[in-house]
């Protein structure tokens, strides 16, 4: 695996990944195609759809090793989040038309879950879909839809039964062609990093074929749980952390820091390295249980929490180790853009279930601490 990365990944892309400098969507697509040719774009899928049949342990190691060696991350939306749902609940037709293009990287997917009023409380989503003959008619607004502007398809949560006894029960999942559907309007949300990574998506009587419903109507919430559970084995991103630690050592080694400054940073780096040990141990324990048939449980919530914290500490240490030049924007070169890069990692404790939501889930689900008012966790992201 290591050799494969070294001999097949563009050296400059790899260098930029390691130095936390930007990598373009196109460069990621090239790497996706390289992995696809090797049969490694989606090793965790069933063999009949192009997976490898590897054990969960081998899949785990594959993901961590690639990250550790400086491979860019492939977009998770199609490969990690949607595909397992389609494989389990999709129609034959859906599998045949979508899975091969997800695997090859030909189709880019985006995830239309969040809305202006539905963030942590995802189940309160309002985007409405009504069946009209053999088409769903969609009205409403999605928000924070990453790469919607460059996506071919969206998997989208819509409300199909506004009168369901619980909000979770009236939600369905639809697949939407982003390139050829009138009534779909994608508008950029600019983040302070100056990049257009995410969007608002408006639906104004957008029509999609009835055949684009995933699974059963009003069962979308259950599939959502599958989606949100799909990245859990690698959720702490141990390989990425290891790579960042290694890079940090080098930066400190050649930096112009004073002796005292260097000592101080080294102590912080050691602190992260030690924390990472326990995180890796817990990841491996979760993996071990999974191999024996247990679904990832609250370990995954712990690992999401702690993994986000480690990400943020590591990108910040890179800024501290580099000195004031890290505050600089623009210029190529390895010192610039590093505060911006740290800022980008603030999102890790916000999306995919914020750190607060993770704590709520553990408090209620694992520890049995009931809340004074009972709604706070039920609607939350898994």
């Amino acid at each position: 695996m290591r050799d494969f990365v070294h001999s097949n990944l563009d050296q400059d892309v790899r260098r930029r990944v390691i130095c936390a400098q930007p990598v373009s969507l196109e460069e990621k697509r090239v790497w996706h195609a390289t992995l696809a040719r090797q049969g490694w774009a989606a090793p965790h899928w069933p063999v009949e759809w192009g997976g490898t049949g590897w054990s969960p342990a081998k899949n785990y190691l594959f993901v961590e090793t690639l990250a550790e060696e400086g491979a860019p991350e492939l977009s998770p939306f199609g490969l990690q989040l949607l595909a397992p749902v389609l494989i389990r609940y999709g129609t034959e037709q859906q599998k045949r038309s979508y899975l091969p293009k997800i695997l090859s990287g030909e189709h880019r997917w985006c995830q239309g879950f969040s809305e202006p009023g539905a963030g942590s409380d995802l189940a309160s989503l309002k985007t409405r879909a009504v069946l009209d003959g053999d088409q769903w008619v969609i009205n409403g607004q999605k928000m924070w839809t990453t790469v919607a502007h460059a996506a071919d398809m969206m998997f989208c949560l819509v409300r199909t039964d506004p009168d369901a006894p619980r909000p979770q029960m009236g939600i369905s999942m639809l697949l939407i062609d982003m390139k050829n559907t009138p009534g779909v309007d994608v508008r950029p949300i600019m983040l302070l990093n100056g990049e257009r990574t995410t969007n608002e998506v408006y639906f104004d009587n957008a029509r999609v074929p009835a055949a684009n419903l995933v699974g059963e109507v009003n069962e979308g919430w259950n599939y959502t749980r599958v989606v949100l559970g799909n990245e859990r084995l690698n959720i702490a991103r141990v390989g990425l952390c290891k790579r960042q630690l290694r890079h940090l050592e080098q930066v400190v080694g050649r930096s112009g820091l004073s002796g005292e400054g260097r000592k101080r940073i080294r102590r912080h780096i050691a602190g992260v390295a030690l924390d990472l040990m326990s995180v890796e141990a817990l990841s491996l324990r979760m993996l071990g249980r999974y191999q024996l048939g247990d679904a990832p449980g609250f370990e995954a919530n712990f690992l999401k929490l702690k993994g986000a914290e480690l990400q943020q500490r590591l990108t910040r240490l890179l800024v501290e180790a580099t000195g004031p030049s890290a505050l600089r924007l623009g210029a190529d070169g390895e010192d610039s853009n590093l505060l911006k890069n740290h800022f980008d990692t603030r999102v890790v404790s916000i999306y995919g279930g914020s750190s607060e939501v993770q704590r709520n889930i553990v408090a209620k689900g694992m520890l049995g601490l009931t809340k004074p008012a009972s709604t706070a966790v039920k609607g939350a992201r898994a």
């Binding site: 409380d121 309160s124 990093n193 101080r264 800024v319 505050l327 603030r346 916000i350 609607g379």
Partner: protein, 368 residues
């Protein structure tokens, strides 16, 4: 006499505060930041003339200001307003430039309204990156220092260089002098900065502002004042961030109620208010002490104020983004901008470094 001068300066400072608070909205400021991001440099046609008109240079360096203990307080009002307003104009660098020229006893070297920026080594009490060689009728200067805050807009560079004998000299070098390479860029928080390199620049003797060990006093004082004024900028930014976050907790609804109804968030908001008040109180006290110049007691308080402000800044910056959720990362909303401003501050004035510095100071009873 001092009293009336003092009144005038107080009115100026209040004018800047009002200008930023009432007339200069976030959208307008952010348009400035974006314009700079496209490589146009700082647009000095909008806020800058108003700041000049109000007299930010005079606040720092009219002929009584240096003697008047209250003047530092007036400057702090401006710094705090700039931080709270997230303004990217180099008001603080400009005040510090005028101030250093005045502290060195040579306010006259700067023409009216000329924007002079002080080398980071002087502001941070580090060894200079430049060296000076005497030559016939002048000096030849070489060296480099990076990340001059406000350096992108500088007309004059105030830099120190030791001669071959190790004697420090303060030069006021025009930024467009042949041989001076001033590379401007934008920082993540939107403010402008520059790297400055001098390649055997031959200067005429008029650029020499002052020399000799007497400069050490001026340098120490400007370092103290610059540190505390940057802390004031941060206090302003923390105030802005806390107000914004409180509003978010009151207005953003999830799970059928304002998110401020969740106790997990309430307690953190309380802590944000607490650490702001601690920083504000200590910075104000350190400011008063600094008016007497940089004596041992003044430095102790300054160390305390800087450590406290750095820690508070980090906490408030991170919590502001986190409690805003996705909105905390967007460009069109101030939360992320406060994060950037506050994080810049605490990276430039690291809490650990100032803690170590504090530990190195002689115990107060032995000093004097």
């Amino acid at each position: 006499m001092i009293d009336t001068q003092d009144d005038v300066r107080r009115m100026l400072a209040d004018g800047v505060d009002r200008l930023l608070e009432r007339e200069y909205g976030f959208e307008q400021r952010d348009a400035m930041r974006k314009a700079m991001a496209t490589g146009q440099g700082l647009d000095k046609s909008v806020l800058w003339p108003r700041l000049e008109e109000l007299g930010i240079f005079m606040l720092a360096a009219d002929k009584d200001a240096v003697q008047d203990p209250a003047s530092l307080g007036h400057m702090s009002v401006v710094a705090e307003a700039m931080g709270r307003g997230l303004a990217i104009e180099p008001a603080l660098p400009a005040m510090l430039g005028a101030r250093l020229a005045a502290l060195a006893g040579t306010a006259g070297v700067l023409a009216d309204g000329q924007l002079a920026v002080v080398a980071p080594s002087i502001l941070h009490g580090r060894e200079s990156g430049f060296g000076a060689e005497a030559m016939d009728g002048g000096w030849r200067l070489s060296g480099q220092e990076d990340v001059w805050l406000g350096g992108d807009a500088a007309q004059i560079l105030l830099l120190s260089a030791r001669d071959m004998q190790g004697v420090p000299h303060l030069f006021a070098m025009p930024a467009d002098q042949p041989g001076v390479t001033c590379t401007p860029y934008q920082l993540f928080d939107g403010r402008g900065a520059a790297n400055v390199a001098l390649n055997s620049v031959e200067t005429n003797p008029a650029y020499l502002v002052a020399q000799g060990e007497a400069l050490a006093d001026a340098f120490e004082r400007i370092e103290l004042e610059a540190s505390l004024l940057n802390a004031c900028d941060a206090v302003g930014a923390m105030r802005g961030a806390n107000a914004l976050t409180l509003e978010q907790l009151q207005t953003r609804h999830q799970f059928g109620r304002p998110i401020g109804a969740f106790q997990a968030l309430q307690h953190r908001m309380v802590d944000m208010s607490l650490v702001l008040e601690l920083a504000d109180a200590l910075v104000a006290q350190a400011m008063v002490a600094a008016c007497n110049g940089p004596d041992a007691g003044g430095w102790r308080l300054a160390c305390g104020a800087l450590v406290r402000t750095a820690l508070s800044s980090r906490q408030i910056a991170e919590e502001t983004v986190q409690m805003h959720g996705g909105m905390g990362l967007t460009e069109e909303y101030p939360a992320a901008h406060y994060f950037a401003r506050l994080t810049s501050f605490e990276l430039l004035y690291p809490a650990e470094e100032w803690t170590e510095r504090f530990a190195r100071l002689a115990p107060l009873d032995k000093a004097a």
